[in-house]
């Protein structure tokens, strides 16, 4: 291994090379089906990297990972990185049409997946021009013949010898990942992050979360969500242990796991903390091993905090704010959580933020401005979307540089602490996930019998916002709200499906004939 060992971390995969050298027999991850050591993760990843290279993966080539949280997802991710590829994590809840969109948009040549998702990936294989290989985990089965090769992981990894692997020649400003996120245009966009931007963000997060190699970090969030992904990246980077759960669907199993594995870090989102609090009300919970809990994706209601301190008597509470385009913007020092209960803190270490008016002038403390972010964590842009990228990356206050315009309204107090005011676009945030109203509207318009559709977010104490749809029907249509929801379930991830569908005779219009969403709700 000596020839693989980097002196400093230049590439995201270097985290694994260094940690496997330092802690070969230490557990890197525990999952439902077992525990795996750093050396094992390295061996599997190198084997997969070689196999991907054998199958034609070049430096910078995209590989999609469409899997549940589990061991195969881990070595898939590091396998792609060590091969010099760019990984694209796709939420396993994603349905066929959107999966096809992302595979085509990213020009992925290889799809790493699981057999239980076959109903989504098999039907679309005929329509993917760039995809050449599918490798799947889970039970082995025979697939119908197609132009695309479909192989089982075990067969692929058995056949590959260690000498096949060619060392990665990527440099730090090469792409490491495309992170797909919902956008106001309705189609998901691939946020381009380089090795540099991701390593920078990692180190900044590790610093303020005060993580060490002794931490045992719980992750129940999907690895396709950058908040979930970074739990893995951080754990591997510092040689800690990740306690990986598929989801929070059976909270009791997660609670048991926290106790058994003596978890020290608990990353959550408000909807997850709400479930935790409602379980606590049914029967008391106490997790003394946890020393840090973190929240992002939506504001943590201030009245959650006393109960959370009951459940986690030894934990610091971190309130954070971020967006995929720069991973994380700000965090509040946990010691200040009572003094600044509604603030999301200050810029993360090594970065800075500015509040500017619409015409680009700085605003006074207490006034509302648009949040701009400067730092090495800012994305390169959206994959193949120049116009959308220009809308987010503006000329910096210093010449020849770019900064990120978040399009979010914020205020800053006299001491420089940030307060979220609202979004300047109509993206809905529900259960910690971004939902583009246009994406949901497009699905509604695709339903035979729907005449007009408008989707808005309505505020909700548990979920942040709920997706609510208003539709009018064609005269002949026999649709009702249930039938419409059912058709949405077939096309959209669960969290995007409208919680409520209201059938109306007509929708309110503005004077120039557009649907007036302000009068809905």
């Amino acid at each position: 291994m000596a020839n693989l060992l980097p002196i400093i971390h230049r590439l995201l995969g270097d985290s694994l090379l260094v940690s496997a050298q330092k802690y070969p027999s230490k557990i890197v991850v525990t999952t439902n089906d077992g525990e795996y050591a750093y050396q094992e993760l390295l061996d599997y990843s190198v084997a997969l990297a070689g196999a991907l290279q054998q199958r034609g993966l070049q430096r910078g080539g995209r590989v999609a990972i469409y899997m549940d949280n589990g061991w195969p997802a881990l070595f898939s991710l590091y396998g792609v990185l060590l091969a010099g590829g760019v990984f694209v994590m796709i939420n396993p809840q994603t349905k066929a049409d959107k999966l096809a969109y992302i595979l085509n948009d990213s020009d992925a040549s290889c799809l790493l997946t699981e057999v239980h998702l076959e109903n989504n990936f098999v039907p679309i294989l005929g329509g993917l021009s760039k995809l050449q290989h599918v490798i799947y985990a889970g039970k082995e089965k025979t697939f119908p013949m197609s132009a695309i090769s479909i192989e089982h992981f075990d067969k692929v990894l058995d056949k590959v010898s260690r000498d096949v692997y060619v060392e990665n020649r990527s440099i730090s400003n090469d792409l490491a990942a495309l992170v797909y996120t919902s956008g106001s245009t309705g189609s998901p966009k691939g946020v381009m992050h380089t090795h540099l931007s991701m390593l920078f963000a990692l180190n900044s997060l590790i610093e303020y979360l005060r993580l060490s190699d002794e931490d045992r970090i719980l992750n129940v969030l999907p690895l396709s969500f950058d908040y979930g992904l970074y739990q893995l990246l951080m754990a591997v980077h510092i040689g800690a242990t990740l306690i990986l759960e598929k989801s929070f669907a059976f909270p009791t199993l997660v609670f048991k796991c926290i106790k058994e594995k003596e978890v020290t870090v608990f990353p959550g989102v408000p909807s997850l903390f709400a479930i935790l609090i409602s379980s606590h009300e049914r029967s008391k919970l106490k997790f003394p091993s946890i020393t840090r809990i973190t929240n992002t994706a939506a504001a943590l209601p201030a009245d959650f905090i006393p109960t959370l301190k009951d459940i986690f008597p030894n934990a610091l509470v971190y309130k954070m704010y971020g967006l995929t385009e720069c991973k994380r913007v700000s965090y509040l020092e946990p010691e200040l959580v009572d003094r600044k209960p509604t603030s999301v803190g200050k810029a993360i270490p090594g970065t800075e933020v500015l509040l500017l008016s619409r015409d680009g002038n700085s605003v006074e403390p207490g006034e509302t401005g648009i949040l701009h972010v400067r730092g090495p964590h800012v994305m390169l842009g959206y994959w193949k979307q120049e116009e959308l990228s220009e809308n987010m990356l503006k000329d910096d206050v210093y010449p020849n540089q770019k900064m990120l315009c978040t399009h979010d309204w914020f205020k800053m107090d006299d001491e420089g602490f940030l307060y979220f005011v609202g979004r300047s676009d109509d993206i809905i945030k529900t259960r910690g996930e971004k939902v583009s109203p246009v994406e949901v509207e497009n699905v509604l318009y695709g339903i035979e019998g729907i005449n007009e559709a408008a989707v808005i977010g309505v505020s909700d104490s548990m979920f942040g916002q709920l997706v609510k749809a208003f539709v009018t029907l064609k005269k002949s249509s026999s649709l009702d709200d249930k039938k419409i929801k059912k058709l949405c379930v077939a096309k959209l991830e669960n969290y995007m499906v409208p919680k409520e569908v209201i059938v109306m005779d007509s929708l309110p219009k503005t004077t120039n004939g557009k649907i007036d969403k302000k009068r809905l709700g």
């Binding site: 129940v220 059976f250 909270p251 009791t252 997850l272 409602s278 029967s283 059912k486 669960n494």
Partner: protein, 82 residues
């Protein structure tokens, strides 16, 4: 209505938005099929408690009891006879 048809109808109506019985196999994993997720399971627990007058303890909220129609039916029946 039997316990089984009651539970089936609840899941079909509230998670699959349909009355088509063929869309739900009694042994299908509700989690793996994406029928329920983290918030769904608590709703299901509240529904079962209310409908069948049972009290479900935290340690009983596990896949063996709740992750398919079959599992839920035998769990509820076991609770009833206690």
């Amino acid at each position: 209505m039997t316990i089984e048809s009651n539970i089936r109808n609840y899941i079909l109506e509230n998670y699959l938005f349909t009355d088509d019985q063929s869309e739900l196999a009694n042994d299908a994993s509700l989690l793996e099929k994406g029928i329920i997720d983290s918030t769904g399971i608590m709703e299901l627990v509240f529904y079962l408690e209310e409908t069948f007058g049972i009290k479900i303890d935290d340690h009983e909220m596990v896949p063996e009891n709740l992750d398919s129609v079959d599992n839920i039916v035998s769990f509820v029946k076991g609770k009833d006879s206690n």
